[in-house]
Amino acid sequence: MYRQGDVLIVPVAEEAVPAHVAHAPRERRDARGRLVLALGEVTGHAHAVVGPGELIREPGPFGPMLLHLPRGGRVVHEEHAVITLPEGWFRVIRQREYVPGSVRIVAD
């Protein structure tokens, strides 16, 4: 597994990916053609994947997002070093913080 700031990227075995994911809608790329894993709305900084692949929102045990990189890819961010990912499927998890009575996501 890989961590870039507040995003954790966990490999998922191909046989564990639910069959319906093949037909699920894909996330749109941003204006720069990247797959955005997490976006800081105020800073505009994004954890994003450059290269061929697909990002699927998938509620449940494999979600909230599944990333498929048929040839591997690079995860970039304005404030973090690049992470190179091998080919395969990944679960993308956004970091959260405990707040009594609720939980909120972390944005770096």
Partner: protein, 410 residues
């Protein structure tokens, strides 16, 4: 590996993944439909230019193909125009807004209002409406509600339940949560200012007037889902682009200015430690710290906090605000807190608080060095039962401590 969310406490959690529409019916948050595009104009506002694309352009790239579909308004989700309007803090474009209002009456088959009057804020608008004896009946239903209900039914029939849900999730749903939270806060603020609270006869009278408002800029989520340019909602879109809330009555339309200040955090919550988080030109303002409403004078006190003062605060919510503002790291140092546990992921700290659950935090080093070669330290609050630093860090990602083992961190 445990599912993300197994440790969530309470109903107020915000799951990872950002905005999910309250009206999204639990559907996957998906992309593929395109709202009205826009171009920036030189007055800082944004003007719609083209029709929404066919809603059937859902991308279906598989395998090696690269989906190059992207939005051209500079935002990741194509909603930048609507987001800009919803958050606009520039003076109303009164001429454009009034033209939009008149057009909305005509589109509804009504005669134009005899008068259009302006107020500095929704609070001032409500006060003004209460003094207007000749305004006529509220016509919001025919101007907005009925056409919207018809359009929603049409889209629902055309796209099917799942298709509508996906369309909403890709458009209005992404703006809904933060916009609606703002609307609710403004309503509460007006109620508290004019009626001294949210209950009682006076509050009911104010609340009824607030419910007659068309939300102007804050109608952006629904309009993003509905409005192709040139369509039946062009007039309402024009007012959304140009002004704040407005009240349509048969003889008079009452308009509100937009805010002059709006501060929200990354999660879209009202947030400002140094002044109003939301302010209108006539002085109506809301104060909040990371979404929590606070009294205006509370913010003044934040600048002079001491650990003793924080410890003495009896209101647990205000104490949390004080702790966040003071800085957990500073408080840990100043209050001689002792580390509970250290390992390769970081340090676990605990502070016992009177009348509240203990504050347990992991201290983590940012893996990518700053330009000066140092590593930024940050603190994340974790559930009070956490026993090791690794367990705490793993919790922040919703995974079990035994499986949390990044091979690379930046």
């Amino acid at each position: 590996m445990s599912g993300n969310g197994t440790d969530m406490s309470g109903a107020g959690m915000s799951g990872a993944g950002g905005d999910s529409g309250a009206d999204g019916n639990g559907a996957a948050d998906t992309a593929g439909t395109e709202p009205a595009d826009g171009v920036a104009t030189n007055d800082g506002s944004v003007k719609p230019t083209s029709a929404r694309g066919d809603s059937a352009d859902t991308t279906s790239a598989h395998g090696d193909s690269v989906d190059t579909t992207s939005t051209d308004d500079g935002s990741v989700d194509g909603l930048g125009t609507w987001r800009t309007w919803a958050r606009a803090i520039v003076p109303a474009d009164r001429a454009a807004a009034e033209a939009g209002v008149r057009a909305a009456y005509r589109a509804a088959g009504l005669p134009e209002p005899e008068r259009i009057v302006w107020a500095g804020s929704p609070r001032a608008a409500v006060s003004l409406i209460r003094e207007l004896t000749d305004r006529g009946a509220c016509v919001r239903d025919v101007v907005r509600d009925a056409p919207w209900a018809a359009e929603r039914a049409r889209l629902h029939a055309e796209l099917g339940a799942g298709g509508w849900s996906e369309h909403w999730a890709a458009t209005g749903g992404r703006l809904w949560e933060s916009t609606q939270a703002l609307v609710d806060r403004i309503r509460t603020g007006v109620l508290e200012d004019l009626a001294g609270g949210t209950t009682g006869k006076e509050a009911t009278a104010v609340r009824l007037l607030l419910l007659e408002a068309v939300l102007g800029q804050h109608d952006a989520p629904w309009l993003a889902a509905f409005a192709p340019a040139g369509g039946p909602f062009e007039a309402l879109t024009e007012v959304c682009r140009s002004a704040g809330w407005w009240w349509p009555y048969a003889r008079v339309a009452v308009m509100s200015e937009r805010p002059v200040a709006l501060h929200q955090d990354e999660a879209g919550r009202l947030d400002n430690g140094e002044g109003p988080a939301l302010a209108y030109p006539d002085g109506f303002a809301l104060h909040a710290w990371r979404g929590m409403p606070v009294p205006a004078d509370f913010l003044t006190e934040l600048a002079t906090l001491t650990p003793v003062r924080i410890h003495k605060e009896e209101n647990a919510e205000l104490r949390r605000v004080m702790l966040e503002y003071y800085g957990y790291d500073r408080y840990l140092k100043d209050s001689d807190a002792k580390p509970l546990h250290r390992d390769e992921t970081g340090t676990l700290w605990r502070i016992d608080l009177v009348g509240d659950e203990p504050l347990v935090m992991v201290e983590v080093l940012n893996s990518t060095p700053e330009p000066d070669g140092t590593h930024r330290t940050y603190w994340l609050r974790v559930p009070p039962r956490t026993r090791t630093a690794k367990e705490g860090v793993a919790w922040t990602f919703g995974v079990d401590a035994e499986v949390y083992a990044p091979s690379q961190q930046t």
